[in-house]
């Protein structure tokens, strides 16, 4: 059997920065593929030792309660928290945004987060799957062409703290994309949309961080 089906990961031997994708559950292969296509060297992160060599991290869509439990059970949460506090660039989509938010609403009992992003995020903010939707979003930081965004039982950013900046809002004003220094979070899933601009935007942060550290 092929371990972790590496053939689907794209360029795992590329020269670019080394970007980890948290691979405990969810659509991590889709992120890995996009990052590989953009020239990153992709590492799937499931254990503490996987965290050491990465220049950036993507936390995929999936079920945040499951990622939280497994990340603590297998000891990957603490090293990730430490790296985030040291300035590791992180991009979280949907469940990933929940994982990096400082404050969570509508969590299950005992659910924790990695934190770092100065925002308040509400889980499943739109309701059940019947309320999941796709729409075009203006994201000025990524240029004039709107981003086609897919929301799947997604969270929203209910409050943006002083250190964070909104990147996109829905027509009703709810914030669905934010950044803060090296951290980026979206309520939606660019990894399944075919629009790579959010990943490019994030990789630029990773490359800048690598250059700054050199």
């Amino acid at each position: 059997m092929v371990s972790l089906r590496d053939e689907s990961l794209g360029a795992t031997d590329a020269a670019g920065p080394t970007v980890g994708v948290l691979a405990l559950q969810g659509d991590f292969r889709e992120h890995a593929r996009v990052l590989g296509e953009l020239g990153a060297r992709v590492v799937l992160v499931r254990r503490p030792e996987d965290v050491e060599g990465i220049d950036g991290l993507v936390i995929p869509g999936g079920e945040s309660t499951v990622m939280d439990k497994l990340s603590r059970a297998f000891g990957v949460a603490e090293p990730l928290k430490r790296r985030i506090a040291e300035g590791l660039p992180v991009y979280g989509t949907c469940a990933g945004l929940i994982m990096i938010a400082d404050t969570l609403l509508d969590t299950i009992e005992g659910q924790r987060n990695l934190g770092g992003l100065d925002v308040v995020v509400r889980r499943n903010a739109f309701g059940s799957q019947n309320q999941s939707f796709e729409t075009d979003l203006d994201v000025p930081a990524l240029g004039e062409r709107p981003v086609h965004a897919v929301f799947i039982r997604g969270p929203v950013v209910e409050a943006v703290g002083e250190r964070a900046t909104p990147l996109a809002t829905l027509a009703d004003g709810r914030v669905v994309a934010v950044e803060q220094g090296n951290l980026v979070g979206t309520s939606f899933h660019p990894e399944i949309q075919g629009d790579h601009r959010f990943h490019e935007y994030f990789l630029a942060k990773v490359r800048a961080a690598v250059t700054a550290a050199a």
Binding site: E63, T65, F133, L137
Partner: protein, 296 residues
Amino acid sequence: MSTSETGSSRVKRGLAEMLKGGVIMDVVTPEQARIAEDAGAVAVMALERVPADIRAQGGVARMSDPDLIEAIIAEVSIPVMAKARIGHFVEAQVLQALDVDYIDESEVLSPADYVNHIDKWGFTTPFVCGATNLGEALRRINEGAAMIRSKGEAGTGDVSEATKHIRKITSEINQLKSMTRDELYVAAKELQAPYELVLEVAETGKLPVVLFTAGGVATPADAAMMMQLGADGVFVGSGIFKSGNPEQRAAAIVKATTFYDDPKVVAEVSRGLGEAMVGINVGDLPAPHRLAERGW
């Protein structure tokens, strides 16, 4: 700002994408749903009787009581699925009205129509359907299924049929990948599936939707084997709550599904789980009681 669209193929298939690498657990009470969520289930299947009990009690098995489904939805924050009978589009309408997150058009219940499956395109709520081979999977996708699960033989605790079905589907996909264009026309005819879907599978080397495995998974090693055989995730029905220690077994199966390629983790989580469900060997089941043969 343009308009937003609910119930699109991308949105329906997208939820299944987010469930990948996870375990979906059958639950019959809100208490079990809570245990499942706490153990790390990625979603729960709300039903009145697990397949092992449907098998033991016999009779016609139908959609669950809306009160039960709503109580389970109220209890947990993860997605809740529920089953409709094959072809019973009104049960599916009811489940959509109850706001379940996924509808399983399931052979575990008694079929309501022996000719037609539900036309699933008209629903906002996505559907998952069972399949024993690639042709069956593609016919369901053609009818609008947004997720496929290999059927296995539900309620037995015998994983052999699940193995057979996931192997069959993946080997048929591999065969398509090596075919020339003219051979694919014949393959479509033989698979009794639309040519466009057959071509798509041949080109991409995978189903156009997420593929889980179901039916007879009872241990962490069973789950890890299904993942190694190419499943995107697993359904565990009777295997958890018909076992001696559901909390521990559920958490163990979740871990084994994530670390399916690491036998040390599978060994570690398999220790001291207590009694597994007793189970029935599929070979001992008389043919009329084999659920996987329902649906076509």
